[in-house]
Subunit: 458 residues, 2 copies
C-alpha cells in the first residue's frame, strides 16, 4: 500500500532537494534586524510550498514579530488531526571565517548538505512538507494535517505563545509532530522524550564612566572585567554545581532506574572527546556526560566582551564589560522563576564599586513526553520500517521552549521525531545534514501517519 | 634676560598651535598596521619641525619598527647636554562612538584642545620643540640639545632599546628631559619622580574545536569563557592582592615616611569618585588610593572577548575565549621575570579540559628619580617661575617603560616634567589638553634650560 508513496519519494529526490536549497538560500536569521525582509520572503516561500504540496489553504499570519505560516488539509472530521510544527528562521553565521563554503549557498559534499539551516530546521522542517505531499499525491493521507511554521524559534518563539492563545480552535489537534532534534547515529534511531528548559540573560557591568588609563588608575578603581570574571566564577563551585541559592529547589531528581536506562544509550567517551578535540570532559561531579547534558541543569557563558579587543596592547581600564549568560533547566524548574532569581542574585553579588544591569533575553520550560502515547508508538513503528531498528527513547540537552508552551496553552503533547546527528554542527560553522537522513526522514514521517491512524483507533 | 623669550612665545601663540594641530591631524596609531604610512609622514613632519626650530641637523633614522626622529644642536662641547625624549605615536581611538568630535580633527572647546594625542604625547612633545625654538631664535640657549622622538611608545618602545644600544655615543647626554606625565592640578605643579613598570599579555583559552550547541553539550564540556573567568578571578584575592606565587618577592616596601610624604599631595576621594562616577573605590586593603596607584602593583584585564557578542541570544558553547591582561609593577620588580612567571603560572592553573596559550605583548621596568639631581632642582625652579609654586614630587601609576631602559643602556637619568591633567583623558575618548598648559609648558621648559646650566655648574 505504501509502495507508491516510497516510489514517489524516489522519483522526486532531485526536485525535493532543489526546493530545500531554495529555502536555504534565503538568509532568514531571526536575531538580526537587518534580515527582516528575508523573514517575509521565507514565510511566503513556505506558504507556496504548502500549497504546492496539497493543503486546502495556507496563510502567512502576522504576529507581533515574524509571521507564522499556517496551512491545513482536513479530510474527515472523525479522523485524528496531526499538527506539524517547524521553524523557518535560522541562527546567525558568525564566525563566518570558519565556514568552508558560504552558509547560504548550500552544497553537497561527501553525502552532506552544507549550509546554515541545512538541519536546523529547514532540512528537518521541509521533510514534513514533502512527506505530506507524497501522501496527498498518492491518496494515502489517513489523518487531518495542520502546519504551523514559525519564524522566531531561535530567538525564543517570542510571539508564538500569543499566536496559540489567539488561535486555539484553529490549532486543535491530537498530537503535535516536530522534527527539530537529533538521533544517536545514522544507524541508531532515537526519539527525544525530554528537553531541557532555558533561561538566557545579557549582563552589563559598568565601572568608571569612561575608559581609564590602566597605569594612572589601575589598582585604585574597580575594573569591570575583573569584577565580571569574579561574578561569573562565583556562579559555579568546584563540583560543577550552580551556587545561586534556590536554583536546584525544583529539580526533579532522576531515579536510579531512569539513570540506568539513560546510560544504556550507546556512548563512547573517547569518540566524544575526539570529535570535539578536548583532553578531558568537565561537568557536575557524580553524573555521567549523558546525565550532565540530559537531566541536569548547566551554566554557560555564551559570549563575553569588554575593553580593548583589537590588535596589540592597549593599556586601558575599561568602563564596561558584558556577557551573555545562559542556564539549561530540567523538569520541574520554572524558567521565569529562574530568570527572576538570577536577575536578583547576580545584581546582589555585585560589589558597590560597579553598577550591574541584567536583562532577560530568552527562556523556555523543560518538557517530557511519555513513551506510551499512541503517537509515540506510531513514531516507533515508523522508524522500525525505515531504519529496521526500534528507536531508543532519549533525553536531549537542547531546548525547544515552545514545546512546553504548546502543552500549557493548547493542551497538546508533542512527539519529537528528530533526524539530526551530533556531527551536523547546528548553530556552528559548517552546519550540515546528511542526504540519507533527509530522504529517510521523509519516508519515516510518511509511515508515521499510517501508524498513527491505527494506533489512535486502539 | 628671559623677557625676550617670553615675548617670542606670546607673539607666536597662534602659529605654535597651528603647527601642533598639523601634527595631530596625522593619525599615527602605532598599534594598527594600517597606519604604517602615517608613521612615516609623522616622523617627516617632526624632522621638518626640528629643522625649522633651529637644530644643526635632523634625521629620520630607521629601526626594525617605526623610525626615530633625531636632531641636535651642539653649541659648545664644554656645556652640559640635554636629551629630549618624546613620542610621535598615539593610542587607538576605539570606542570611536564616544568621541564628541573626530579624534584627528583637533578643536578647542572651553580652553581645551580635543584630539587623540592632544596631550599624549603630541601636545607635550611639541612644547619642547617650541621652547627650543624660542631659545634659539633669541640667542638664549645655554646647553647643547639633542632630540630623540620615537614612534612606538604606545606599543612598548619595542625598537628603541636596540636604537639606544647602536647610538650610545650620539645620544650621550647629562640628563634626559621628558614631558609625558601629568601634574596634580592646573594650579598645583608636580614632578613625577617614580613610574610603575608594566607586563602585558594576551591569553587564549581553547575548549572544543568548534562552537557547540549549548543545549546539547552544555554541562558536559568545559566552556572556555567560564574557565577563563575562573582563571582571571583566581588571580586576585579578597584583599585585592595578586595571588601568583612570588609576585611580591621583589616589591620595594615603602617606608612609613615615604608613605606619609606621598599622602600629603592634595587628593579628594569624593572628587575622584565623582570625576569617574563610581560609588566606591576599590583596591589593595591597607593602602590609600594614591598608594594603590603609585607604589603598589595592580592587575587589570584590559580587554576580553569570546563567543557570541552580537544582538540577541545565541545559545552557543564557544570554542575560544581571549583576554588582554596587564600588571603594573613597582621597584624592584623585573618585568621580564614577571612576564615569564605569569606565562608559566597562568598555564599551570588551567584545567585539563582546555588548552591555554599566553603571549607576552609589552613590558617595561619601574623607575625612580632622586630629587637631589641638578636637573630635578632646575625643573623645580622652572615651575616656580611660571606657576609661582614649588612643584610636589609624586609617584605616577603610569609606565614609560623606556625610561628605565635609558638608565640601563645610556646610563642617563630622566627628569619627568609633565603638564598633563587627570581630566585630559589620555588613552580614552575625548582626550584633551588645556591650552594654558600648552603655553605655560613651553615657558617652563625654556626656563629649565636656564636653571639647568646654572645647577650643573654647582
Amino acid at each position: 500500500m505504501m509502495e507508491k508513496v516510497k516510489q514517489f519519494i524516489e522519483d522526486n529526490r532531485e526536485r525535493f532537494m532543489e526546493e530545500l536549497f531554495e529555502a536555504i538560500r534565503i538568509p532568514s536569521i531571526s536575531s538580526l534586524t537587518e534580515h527582516k525582509g528575508d523573514m517575509i520572503r521565507m514565510a511566503e516561500y513556505y506558504k507556496k510550498s504548502l500549497l504546492a504540496a496539497g493543503v486546502d489553504k495556507a496563510e502567512v499570519m502576522p504576529t507581533a514579530g515574524n509571521p507564522v505560516v499556517y496551512g491545513e488539509k482536513i479530510i474527515d472530521d472523525s479522523l485524528p488531526t496531526v499538527l506539524v510544527y517547524a521553524h523557518y528562521d535560522v541562527m546567525p553565521v558568525d564566525p563566518i571565517e570558519l565556514w568552508d563554503s558560504p552558509p547560504f549557498e548550500p552544497e553537497i559534499r561527501d553525502g552532506k548538505i552544507y549550509a546554515r539551516g541545512a538541519d536546523d530546521d529547514k532540512g528537518q522542517g521541509f521533510m514534513h512538507i514533502k512527506a505530506f505531499e507524497a501522501l496527498v499525491k498518492n491518496n494515502k493521507l489517513t489523518t487531518n494535517v495542520k502546519f504551523m511554521i514559525e519564524g522566531e524559534e531561535e530567538i525564543g518563539s517570542v510571539s508564538l505563545g500569543a499566536f496559540c492563545e489567539q488561535n486555539k480552535e484553529m490549532l486543535k489537534a491530537d498530537i503535535i509532530l516536530v522534527s527539530d532534534t537529533g538521533m544517536i547515529a545514522e544507524d541508531i534511531p532515537s526519539i527525544t522524550t525530554g528537553l531541557r528548559g532555558l533561561a538566557y540573560w545579557q549582563v552589563e557591568v559598568t565601572g568608571p564612566n569612561r575608559d581609564l588609563h590602566s597605569g594612572l588608575f589601575g589598582g585604585g578603581v574597580a575594573n569591570p572585567i575583573n569584577v565580571l570574571a569574579k561574578m561569573i566564577a562565583s556562579m559555579t563551585d568546584e563540583k560543577g554545581m550552580i551556587t545561586m541559592p534556590g536554583f536546584y529547589d525544583d529539580v526533579l531528581v532522576a531515579t536510579d532506574k531512569e539513570r540506568k536506562m539513560l546510560n544504556k544509550a550507546p556512548f563512547s567517551i573517547d569518540e566524544y572527546k575526539k570529535a570535539i578535540d578536548v583532553e578531558e570532559l568537565d561537568g557536575e561531579a557524580g553524573y555521567t556526560t549523558i546525565e550532565r547534558t540530559g537531566i541536569r541543569p548547566s551554566f554557560d557563558v555564551c559570549g563575553i566582551w569588554g575593553g580593548y579587543t583589537g590588535e596589540g596592547a592597549k593599556t586601558v581600564l575599561p568602563s564596561k564589560a558584558f556577557a551573555k549568560i545562559s542556564t539549561r533547566l530540567v523538569p520541574d524548574q520554572n524558567n521565569e522563576k529562574i530568570a527572576k532569581m538570577f536577575e536578583e542574585y547576580f545584581t546582589s553579588i555585585a560589589p558597590k564599586s560597579v553598577k550591574v544591569k541584567v536583562e532577560s533575553l530568552h527562556g523556555g520550560q523543560a518538557y517530557v513526553c511519555p513513551i506510551d502515547l499512541p503517537a509515540y508508538r506510531a513514531a516507533e513503528q515508523a522508524y522500525e520500517k525505515v531504519y529496521n531498528k526500534t528507536p531508543v527513547p532519549m533525553r536531549s540537552g537542547g531546548s525547544i521552549p515552545i514545546i512546553s508552551t504548546f502543552e500549557d496553552i493548547l493542551g497538546t503533547k508533542s512527539v519529537l521525531m528528530g533526524f539530526g546527528l551530533e556531527s551536523d554542527a547546528i548553530h556552528s560553522p559548517n552546519e550540515n545534514y546528511t542526504v540519507v537522513n533527509f530522504y529517510n526522514g521523509i519516508e519515516t514521517i510518511a509511515w508515521f501517519y499510517q501508524f498513527f491512524a491505527e494506533e489512535f483507533k486502539k
